[in-house]
């Protein structure tokens, strides 16, 4: 009894003290005020992606976004759904909960785009990232951070052509994905003898078997292009199984691909720098909220293609091991 009474007294004293301090502050103007406003207001930013759970690629996007959120004192609300309609609902959800900014991927531009447009019309700063480079402007979204898949494919194809390849195999791990098809189409533009191969990305042994079967079926294949890091490793296995001399190149990085580039098993990786995509999406929204900035001058800000090969891998391997490259 006595103790708790003491505690009440202490609490009252503390409150009174706080009230005094508060009363002592000016309610407007002064150097203190403007400083604290810029850094102490905690903005809420919603990031809504079409992530398929369990893909290490998305992990990096998220790691980048979380890093930016930590540095900038932003409350990051991350949500994802691999279904177009569900993702659009998540965007609507973010609008309804009156977040300060929205970062959204437009892999399903036709379905998710209109929801993002609503956010823009509601006055919520919105950026697109990762996918939707050709569509984001249609929905009045001012900024975009991502790789140009077509350009990335083309530059990969150019490199293959320079290395003197004869015929490339482009391994698509998800049937009907616009971004993946765009990469292969890009490769084909600058390296015309490119053939696509569909594999079941949820089943790595079957990816290995199918690539192996293709290499046996067509011995003229000199290069295998995979569109995700785990599939590059499956391609390496398949190549050994089939006794093929084909070279393996890939899109995206992970620690094992970095090692394989170091040891020369994989020629190069076309990195779209997912960490930067997540980081910049949050960073740019924060700049827009606190300083009214916009980036890119109305054009997309490209985070890729960035090439990783034996010339720069020694530096990048460490970052890949830390899950930021």
């Amino acid at each position: 009894m006595f103790r708790s009474g003491k505690r009440v007294v202490a609490l009252v004293a503390a409150l009174a003290g706080a009230a005094l301090v508060a009363a002592g502050c000016s309610s407007q103007g002064g150097a203190q005020q403007s400083n604290t406003n810029a850094t102490a207001q905690r903005y809420t930013i919603a990031m809504i992606t079409h992530e398929q759970p369990g893909d290490s690629f998305w992990d990096k996007i998220r790691a980048g976004a979380e890093q930016a959120a930590n540095e900038l004192n932003v409350d990051l609300k991350y949500s994802n759904n691999n279904d177009a309609g569900q993702q659009a609902t998540l965007v609507q959800n973010a609008i309804d909960s009156k977040v300060n900014g929205i970062a959204v991927t437009l892999a399903f531009a036709d379905q998710v785009g209109p929801a993002a447009q609503k956010a823009v019309q509601a006055g919520i700063p919105t950026v697109a990232f990762n996918s939707g480079i050709n569509e984001y402007q249609k929905y009045d979204i001012p900024m975009y951070f991502g790789s140009d898949e077509d350009l990335a494919g083309q530059s990969a194809g150019q490199r293959l052509a320079q290395a003197g390849g004869g015929k490339a195999l482009c391994v698509v791990q998800e049937q009907g994905s616009v971004a993946l098809e765009a990469r292969c189409a890009g490769v084909k533009k600058s390296f015309p003898s490119t053939e696509n191969l569909q594999v079941n990305g949820a089943d790595l042994p079957s990816v290995q078997q199918t690539i192996g079967a293709k290499l046996q079926q067509d011995p003229s294949i000199t290069d295998v292009v995979t569109l995700g890091a785990p599939y590059a490793l499956a391609a390496l296995q398949a190549k050994t199984d089939a006794g093929s001399q084909a070279k393996v190149v890939t899109f995206d990085l992970n620690a094992d691909v970095a090692k394989a580039i170091q040891s020369g098993q994989i020629l190069f990786s076309v990195d779209q720098q997912p960490y930067v995509q997540g980081y910049m999406a949050v960073q740019s929204l924060w700049l827009n909220l606190t300083n009214g900035n916009d980036l890119g001058g109305g054009k997309p800000v490209l985070t890729g293609p960035s090439f990783v090969d034996n010339t720069n891998i020694s530096k990048i391997a460490d970052y890949a091991a830390k899950n930021t490259r």
Binding site: P53, Q198, P205, S206, G212, A213, Q216, Q217
Partner: protein, 356 residues
């Protein structure tokens, strides 16, 4: 005790199957023709001849080895699933169980810096516990196995991601190829066996061995009779003294064992595992069992049939690649081939049961 159920009881009569309506003494040839796997064997031969004719690369020993490998990675789990389906239940969690087992093995041995074998054995315990849980929930709740295993399917999917992220900070496990015991485990689970003229994956031999063991259990042991009995009619099986609960829980643990084995293959083949793998494969296992003559209603089917079903699936998947058909149509070809396989299977079975 078991003599009343020594012969498989007739399955619930579905008009489309027409399997074994009357049991009368028949000639040896007719008896062979009425085995569940005969129809699928005919389909397998037909598909083999088809691809052999149109796809020159299909004719090599290397191609056959790839096909067998493809069939084995489906067939090992399809075997457990087929036995479970004969016992009258489904397991929709089998695909992600494979991933769970691989992840568990990898993370346990990596996080505690253990011998890779310790991780693999600990993972076996976890896998069997999941199988036990599936069966136990089924017995206790009396809900359809479809619902129970759909729930475990979702739970495991979440656990796979959540725990991996928690322990490794990423959604894929670390490379464990430096651990002690990795090489010997790889030799058991994922080695290449050189037959002189061609390399064959060791999983193919395990698959064949498991199929033989399962066939022996089904046809030559009391447990086999029990499996047919609980799948045919659970209540009458219980009435004649079959331990229904034990059999069903055991069958779920059998699926878990197969999933564990494939999971170890996955891990020791690639050294690392992605947490999101395996989703969707549960249906492929069920398809392989059904193509191989197992009934969706239970009480009928065979282990060899499941192996042939997996072989058909693997052969079709890779055959389309060997034939060099347009990849955009891949799934369509696959669907058509499977439908034809099932139809031919049905036709052979019907004409076999009409021959008295």
């Amino acid at each position: 005790m078991s003599s009343p159920v020594a012969t498989p009881p007739s399955p619930p009569s579905t008009p489309s199957t027409g399997a074994e309506p009357v049991r009368v003494q028949r000639s040896l040839g007719a008896r062979i023709l009425s085995r569940p796997e005969v129809g699928s064997l005919a389909a397998a031969i037909a598909i083999f001849v088809f691809f052999f004719a149109i796809a020159p690369p299909f004719r090599t020993a290397e191609a056959f080895s790839t096909i067998l490998y493809s069939a084995s990675t489906i067939g090992i789990v399809a075997l457990g699933v087929a036995l479970l389906m004969i016992g009258g239940e489904f397991d929709l969690s089998s695909g992600v169980q494979v991933t769970t087992a691989a992840l568990a093995s990898s993370m346990i041995s990596y996080q505690f810096s253990l011998n890779a074998w310790v991780g693999a054995l600990a993972s076996l315990v976890i896998a069997l516990a999941i199988g036990f849980l599936n069966g136990w929930l089924l017995i206790k709740t009396k809900l359809p196995s479809f619902l129970i295993t759909l729930s475990t399917f979702f739970m495991l999917q979440g656990i796979n991601l959540g725990v991996t992220k928690l322990l490794t900070g990423a959604v894929a496990t670390q490379n464990i190829s430096d651990l002690d015991g990795f090489d010997s485990a790889k030799a058991i689970f994922a080695a290449d066996v050189n037959l002189g003229f061609v390399n064959v994956k060791v999983s193919v031999f395990w698959w064949i061995l498991f199929t033989l063991v399962a066939t022996w259990i089904l046809l030559r042991t009391r447990t086999g009779n029990w499996i047919f009995a609980v799948g045919g009619n659970q209540d009458s099986a219980r009435a004649v003294g079959v331990p229904v609960a034990k059999v069903k829980i055991g069958l779920f643990m059998g699926v878990a064992f197969c999933a564990w084995f494939l999971g170890q293959h996955l891990l020791f083949n690639f050294s690392t595992v992605q947490a999101g793998l395996g989703v969707g494969n549960e249906l492929i296992y069920i398809v392989a069992a059904v193509v191989g003559g197992a009934l969706l209603t239970g009480g009928y089917g065979s282990a060899i049939g499941a192996a042939i079903g997996a072989f058909i699936f693997g052969m079709t998947t890779q055959g389309i690649v060997y034939a060099g058909w347009d990849p955009n149509w891949f799934k369509t070809f696959l669907g058509v081939m499977l439908l034809l396989a099932v139809l031919l299977n049905l036709y052979v079975k019907n004409s076999a049961s009409r021959r008295k």
